[in-house]
């Protein structure tokens, strides 16, 4: 491993110093945290959604110059963050305008730059590693966060995600109707209880097989722990009511999620929107205005639904939930060789957009940016080295201390100068009090990705 440069040393020392300035959590504060409900909703745009159709748009002049497709054909408008950073937003995001003070936009976010596949980048989003590993979702439900863990790490009332993670055993893909029907049946069934001779016998056999080393014993050990938790899950799930059939699928899902949060069935929920944004072919790329219009309407409906759904007598679901909207990567501006009015787009892990809002998040900010903002913009040497055809936008370097994009054009690419998905997830970790040992590194032999402190309210 090479020694850090003086520049790197100063940068990380400054970031580390910032961490030391954070107030420690005392026992009284920890108890207050424990009482304070906090949940997480992850909305996934599946297939790699183009940020240019949301909050990282480009002027039409750039389309006329043959640089970026724009099948909406409308000029984007300036979206200025309260922190003075501006981006261009597609007119398609207008349904989200009523919530602009509630969420912040993160642009130019690096996913897994050396990898091009959906799975590797979805793995990177959830596990911080293109090959998979431990997903961040269960970490939000650890007892070490100061909250009693919910019975499940998450529920997912939508299509299952294609992601290789090792710890989603308590992330249940459960649709609201199946859960409602299950609740009805569970009301009639007796939970498996200790004290019943048969249940005690079955438990004893599972325990006997769980003793000792080896995978089989490990599995039996988990069966035993599951059996111990089953009566509580049984009683909680029996409380669920089926969704109202007159509501939209999003509101039905939200109603189910709210019930799961209220009854401490799950800490998080993952909602995969039904649209599939992988538009390589021109005829598919041309459907993006429709795809995004429907997806954005659904996101707006979910946020509005959170606001209108009570968590308890005092708080709405919006008050107690942090929401993240993300895709596995962004997309190229075009495909080389195709005319700009008839081109598809490929994958781009060098610039993604994430929306983060809700409990604990400062809304109304724009964090980060991507390069090649207009047809006159120059590409950096770093960009030309990685993308000589200039098909992609790339996240610009980022000043973590000032929380601002850096305008200089670097000759060489250094990942730790940029905003990465690791920083986004570590910010969520900081918000939930996830222990430092779970925080993601920027990359191998690189330091922990900085938490975006300015994004925390």
């Amino acid at each position: 491993m090479t020694a850090p440069t003086r520049r790197q040393f100063l940068k990380y020392a400054a970031l580390g110093g910032g961490t030391l300035l954070l107030p420690p959590i005392g026992s009284r504060e920890a108890a207050a945290v424990a009482r304070e409900p906090h949940f997480f909703l992850m909305i996934v745009l599946n297939g790699g959604a183009d940020p240019a159709y949301m909050f990282d748009a480009r002027p039409l002049a750039m389309t006329r110059a043959g640089r970026i497709q724009n099948y909406l054909g409308q000029e984007p408008f300036p979206w200025r963050g309260d922190n003075g950073i501006a981006t261009l937003a597609s007119p398609l995001v207008k349904p989200l305008m009523p919530f602009r003070d509630w969420f912040s936009v993160l642009n130019g976010v690096y996913m897994a730059p050396g990898f091009d596949g959906h799975l590797q980048n979805m793995n990177s989003l959830f596990a911080g590693n293109p090959f998979g590993g431990d997903s961040f979702i269960p970490h939000l439900n650890l007892a070490e966060t100061g909250r009693a863990p919910a019975s499940l790490d998450a529920v997912s009332p939508s299509a299952p995600l294609a992601v290789n993670v090792d710890n989603h055993s308590a992330v249940a893909s459960l649709n609201p109707w199946a859960a409602g029907a299950l609740a009805g049946k569970l009301k009639q069934l007796r939970p498996v209880q200790g004290g019943d001779p048969l249940a005690d016998f079955m438990r004893a056999r599972i325990r006997a097989n769980g003793d000792g080393p080896g995978r089989f014993a490990g599995g039996a050990g988990r069966m035993l722990a599951g059996l111990d938790g089953a009566p509580v899950v049984h009683r909680k799930l029996a409380l669920l009511t089926p969704p109202r059939p007159d509501r939209s699928p999003e509101l039905q899902a939200l109603d189910f999620i709210a019930q799961c949060f209220r009854h401490a069935i799950a800490r998080s929920a993952i909602y995969v929107l039904p649209q599939f944004f992988d538009v390589h072919a021109a005829e598919h790329a041309k459907t993006q205005p429709k795809l995004f219009a429907s997806a954005i309407a659904q996101i707006a409906e979910l946020i509005e639904g959170l606001d209108e759904t009570p968590f308890d007598a005092e708080r709405s679901m919006l008050d107690v939930t942090t929401v993240m909207v993300a895709s596995e990567f962004g997309r190229t501006m075009r495909i080389s060789g195709a005319p700009i009015h008839n081109t598809g787009t490929n994958h781009n892990a060098l610039s993604n957009s994430v929306l983060l809002g809700g409990k604990g998040i400062r809304g109304g900010l724009v964090i980060g940016s991507s390069d090649l903002a207009n047809e006159r913009a120059q590409a950096s040497g770093a960009h030309l080295a990685m993308d000589p055809a200039l098909e992609k936008t790339m996240g610009t370097p980022f000043d973590f201390a000032e929380m601002r994009p850096i305008t200089e054009l670097p000759d060489e690419f250094e990942l730790d100068d940029h905003l990465t998905i690791g920083s986004v997830i570590n910010t969520v970790y900081a918000l939930f009090g996830v222990p430092k040992e779970h925080h993601r590194a920027v990359g191998r032999n690189l330091p922990v990705a900085p938490v975006l402190r300015g994004l925390l309210s």
Binding site: S151, A170, A208, M223, A230, P231
Partner: protein, 189 residues
């Protein structure tokens, strides 16, 4: 230069530190358990579907199932937890009850050999139902050769003691549930 950058990026992101969940055996899944059980107790022309005993629809995937994306195929939801243990228990309780009720009138399609085995056990609490031969035959018919003999011994002793005077349908249901909830039946080895 590009190749060098690509290699650097691959290395940067292939962090070996992924802290994987401890490797454990996972559930075989409802489809595999159904297939095994069906081959032992049901006629070929009318295979047993444990999915019919799920407490609600669309729960099968929660008990362990294969899912694919492109060329990648993964087994999902196979690690035991409170939710899937509850669903397994509810599902297998309903299946076991159907086997127990079959002492009075067959509720499921069984192949003749299993039906003969079941008939012997349905004489419970009579002595012939408690014979080593009848018990072992039933155990092997449901469990197959998946479990060590010690599991059979523990099961036999429990039922001879705790269910000595109980009615046949209740006993057969409990015996079936105790076998199918055993880790040797449910887990991959």
């Amino acid at each position: 230069m590009r190749r060098f950058l690509a290699i650097v990026l691959v290395l940067a992101f292939s962090a070996a530190g992924a802290e994987a969940e401890v490797l454990t055996s996972q559930f075989k899944g409802l489809a595999a358990a159904s297939r095994e059980l069906s081959s032992r107790i049901a006629p070929k022309e009318a295979p047993l579907e444990l999915a019919h005993f799920l407490p609600a629809q669309d729960l099968e995937a929660l008990l362990g199932s294969w899912a694919g994306f492109g060329s990648e195929h993964n087994f999902r939801n196979g690690v035991p937890n409170a939710l899937n243990m509850m669903i397994w228990h509810a599902t297998l309780s309903r299946f076991a009850a159907a086997v127990g009720e079959s002492c009075a009138r067959p509720r499921l399609a069984f192949h003749p050999r299993f039906l003969a085995t079941l008939k012997k056990l349905c004489a419970w609490p009579a002595a012939e139902a408690k014979s080593e031969a009848a018990l072992e035959e039933f155990w092997l018919a449901v469990m197959g050769y998946n479990a060590p003999e010690s599991e059979y011994r523990a099961w036999r002793e429990f039922f001879l003691a705790a269910y000595a005077g109980k009615p046949a349908s209740e006993t057969v249901a409990a015996m079936t549930l105790a076998i199918t909830m055993n880790p040797h039946f449910l887990l991959h080895k």
